[in-house]
Symmetry: D2
Subunit: 139 residues, 4 copies
């Protein structure tokens, strides 16, 4: 089964058009992604304590249905691909069974001098294991 | 010349990694886009008073250089394409001459029942005129 | 027992000083307050569907300890006082047993013309009942 | 004359009730306060590079009139008081001549170990000079 993360949408995340603002989806993705990485055994706070950064290099979102305040939504996240220096997650945002958005984000890891470094071998191992695990999931 | 919009990055828009959070870029795009549309003669507040919505359907951002708090940045925006029901803007985010991000957003217009409607003819006219104007700009 | 609401702090809610930004506390208060009102049987979305508004008129926060990203915190909320036209909640923000902030907010109800209206009698009844219930709680 | 700072309210800062969310006022205060401190010769980014923190300890806001998206508002800020270890700013938020909110914030300075330190003597000098300057202003 794909990793799932529950979010309760906030009142403040709406705008005057009455729906959740599209920028809040970016924050939902991050919250789910960090939880997913934690579940896989990779902690972003630990990474940053070692003076590494893990910035987003590419983001894309397809908005399908509006979200409203005070709703319970589910995010599905999975590692889509990774290379020597980058990794890409794919996301679905669902309200019950209804698909409200899809998204993907790509990240790299930078050292203290803001230079990209190769992904640590334990992270590659984690991703390989997870790719294998989810290969049997219907995505 | 392309439309330009100045933004002063905020302290609150940083995160613990010391750089402007990637979700703030989405807000910068919106602020610049609304100003651009206003400049072209199209006011989002007027649209909403008439009970129409103008939601984003697609968003993509390519992050190239980090931004920091309390910086003056410039957004360039232009209408990239439009169809009967959708329109797409392209953006560049610059710190002085340095390109820090590129982005594009696509929007549609919905009526009170959340059904997409054809773009109003005055908006199409505005976009045609603007496409002509910027065809001579170096993008 | 006082109403309690759990929040998981978000990465994006930090700023470059490494702690949760003080403006995020305002959002935590709102999330807990809305949940508390819902628990008491009062739904802010219902109120707004009837074209009423429920704006904050006074806010104060005392920050005691910093909060960090990806922490589980607890908000305690209770109705402190109410008059014909206003009501005040008091809050504690705790990390485990440690008090990290206290706060209070006052709200009123406005009609479509932005004029304050007397609190509806069912809301007063709810508050009276809740005041009675919590009178036995150690605050 | 009191220090004034202009802000253009953002679409995203509204919520579904159609007005600027009360949490955004906290961000406006910070933006104005940082600009005021910079004007007085005190740079928060410099402070943080030296591993000091400057957290808010107390915040209070009185909301008088709603603000709407895409408005030009003015913040007036001045140093209200300071002691050995804390300093308090007072704020007015105005739309043209109309007072929409008043606020105050208190800050302290912490060292790397999160211990409060006495205000640096140059900051005290700055505040004394500014108190003298504004003593002739009608507040």
């Amino acid at each position: 089964m794909l990793f799932e993360y529950k979010i309760h949408t906030r009142y403040v995340e709406t705008a005057q058009d009455g729906i959740i603002h599209h920028s809040s989806f970016v924050i939902y993705l991050e919250e789910a992604r960090i939880a997913y990485l934690q579940k896989l055994g990779f902690d972003i706070n630990d990474l940053e304590k070692k003076k590494f950064l893990c910035p987003i290099t590419d983001l894309s979102i397809k908005y399908i249905k509006p979200l409203y305040s005070l709703e319970d939504i589910t995010l599905q996240v999975f590692i889509e691909s990774f290379s020597k220096a980058r990794f890409t997650f794919h996301y679905k945002i669902l309200r019950q069974e209804v698909l409200c958005a899809t998204a993907s984000t790509t990240e790299c890891i930078l050292n203290e001098l803001f230079k990209p470094i190769p992904l640590p071998s334990d992270l590659i191992e984690i991703f390989n294991k997870e790719k294998l695990r989810i290969s049997s999931c219907r995505i």
